[in-house]
């Protein structure tokens, strides 16, 4: 795996004194889909803006495809396409004009055939002569993506790509992202929809308060931090958890109709078989049972809370 983007010791303190980034180190591999997760105000957009040259960092370096993004900014920026979070468009321009403009701005020779294909891929071809102001929000988002892809970038940044986007466009976007990855484009997306990261990403980074608190393969992350929940639907409701079952730390739910046991699925002894044996010894009958793997969302929420708790303690 070769690194296509290397971020080292990146820090940003705004004039207001707000510290948006505090020493972020991150390496992105060529061809991967990386999801940067974090709550609002965690520093996701600042991180992207620095890499793309919109915000000046206070500390640290960024290397894009081996090019320093400050010294060798032309080479670095030529490799990057950016779809910002906000819909910034030239309202009076035609779709095809604005996309052609973006290609020129990045110093690429005109290529009407490429632009045509790009607009077709994004279902924009029929609207090519429409003014941007006449388009719906979802279509505007597509225009922004077309602009970002117009110069055939190696790295695509999608800042909150599906914020406020309908289900259909979200599906289209996910398909498009997969298609791009097949063509070798590296994709970095920020999101606070865990679902999105879970669906698409190869690796996940969690950022909170300007610090990258975790970077991990998505699968490994879910496995490693995965807690499972066993839920038993009881035949007869219980008023309280019997004292004999204290060692499992059980909880009652659904007005005593459910018995809930949380366990670590990676542990050698999960405690599930012994629990079931003890239940049968006690004559507690259950009609049904199921287990649930905790989602990335639970992991994420847990992590961010942990960080906050640590900060309070410090």
């Amino acid at each position: 795996m070769t690194a296509v983007l290397d971020i080292s010791g990146l820090g940003k303190t705004y004039k207001s004194g707000h510290q948006a980034l505090a020493g972020v180190d991150l390496t992105i591999n060529k061809g991967e889909i990386f999801a940067l997760l974090g709550p609002n105000g965690a520093g996701k957009t600042t991180l992207i803006s620095i890499v793309c040259g919109i915000v000046t960092p206070s500390a640290g370096t960024v290397t894009v495809g081996g090019h320093d993004h400050a010294r060798d900014y032309r080479a670095a920026r030529s490799m990057i396409g950016l779809v910002p979070q906000e819909l910034h468009t030239d309202a009076f321009e035609k779709v095809i004009t604005t996309v052609t403009f973006s290609r020129g701005l990045f110093g690429k020779p005109r290529d009407p055939a490429f632009i045509e294909q790009l607009l077709k891929d994004l279902s924009l071809w029929d609207k090519r002569n429409a003014k941007i102001m006449e388009l719906s929000g979802g279509m505007k988002r597509r225009v922004m993506i077309a602009k970002a892809l117009s110069h055939e970038p190696d790295i695509l940044f999608l800042d909150e790509p599906t914020a406020g986007v309908d289900v259909e466009l979200r599906r289209d976007m996910w398909n498009m992202v997969r298609g791009l990855r097949e063509r070798g484009v590296t994709i970095i997306l920020t999101t606070h929809y865990i679902e999105e990261a879970e669906e698409m990403a190869d690796r996940v980074g969690v950022i909170s308060k300007g610090r990258l608190i975790l970077v991990e393969e998505k699968e490994a992350l879910i496995k490693k931090l995965g807690r499972k929940t066993l839920t038993l639907n009881l035949a007869d409701p219980l008023d309280a958890v019997p004292a004999e079952l204290a060692q499992w730390n059980l909880a009652l739910a659904d007005e005593g109709h459910e018995l809930v046991y949380e366990f670590d699925s990676q542990a050698e002894a999960t405690g599930v078989p012994s629990l079931l044996r003890r239940l049968s010894d006690l004559g507690i009958q259950f009609k049904d049972l199921h287990t649930e793997q905790s989602s990335l969302e639970d992991i994420f929420v847990g992590l961010v809370h942990e960080t906050k708790a640590e900060e309070r303690a410090a």
Binding site: I54, V55, R74, R77, L82, T89, L105, K108
Partner: protein, 255 residues
């Protein structure tokens, strides 16, 4: 410093297309303004005015009128050109593109200056309908016109970066440049003023610019052509210095 010619071309054409959308208003405005000035100053008042050192009053006001319109047009077009992307947010694309500051400057200022020169030419042509204007130094006149357009577009670009609201965008052209130009000898020669006011007027930088332009027409101005050239060079250098400081520090462009 200049490598991305395609990028310059893209922005230049984008800006020219923006002007193109308002082509007829852009074209009619200077024609109508010039006509009005000639009806009032040329015909109504001008016939009662004596010649300004051998130049008929009607012809005398032509360079001043051109400069007055070109100054305000240059500033408003160039400032609007860079302020709009800031306002709509599309500036993100310029900042993330492989364009050097100099390339951005050439594209935006080049487009705005082109429009100013076109407008100046239209005024010049319209003026010919009303008065007979002879140009003593045509080449110098064209050079001066282009130089003035570029300089004031640079000034406008600066204002566009500085401005944080549409009101701020208007305030300098309307409250500073327009009065200074009006009082800078656009419609009179400094000789017509009482001695005390003449001294005060010499502190107005615009006097030197208009005088220089008038010199290219009639071979005479309120001050020597060398002084005017010096003033133009100074103003140009000042604008460039401020703009490069803005780009280097990212002033109001980058956080």
């Amino acid at each position: 410093m200049i490598k991305n010619l395609r990028g310059i071309r893209a922005i230049y054409l984008f800006e020219m297309a923006r002007f193109g959308r308002t082509f007829w208003t852009s074209l009619m405005l200077p024609v109508i303004t010039t006509t009005l000035y000639f009806v009032v100053f040329g015909s109504a008042i001008g016939s009662r005015m004596s010649d300004v050192s051998t130049v008929p009053y009607g012809a005398f006001i032509v360079p001043g009128l051109m400069m007055l319109t070109m100054f305000t047009e240059s500033i408003s077009n160039a400032s609007f050109g860079i302020y709009m992307p800031k306002w709509t947010g599309t500036i993100y694309e310029m900042l993330s593109s492989p364009m050097s500051p100099l390339e951005l400057l050439i594209a935006y200022v080049g487009a705005a200056a082109t429009k100013s020169v076109i407008i100046g030419t239209i005024i010049f042509a319209t003026a010919h309908v009303f008065v007979d204007v002879q140009v003593a130094h045509p080449l110098l006149m064209v050079a001066f016109m282009i130089l003035m357009a570029v300089t004031f577009c640079l000034f406008g670009f600066m204002i566009g970066i500085w401005a944080q609201s549409f009101e701020q965008l208007q305030v300098i052209p309307l409250l500073v440049v327009y009065p200074l130009t009006f009082l800078g000898g656009a419609f009179y020669s400094l000789d017509m003023l009482p001695a005390a006011w003449r001294t005060v007027t010499l502190f107005n930088p615009v006097v030197y610019l208009i005088s220089g332009f008038r010199w290219t027409f009639f071979g005479q101005g309120d001050v020597g052509i060398e002084v005017s050239m010096g003033a133009v060079a100074l103003f140009l250098a000042l604008c460039l210095a401020v703009i490069f400081w803005m780009f280097r520090t990212g002033y109001r462009l980058k956080n």
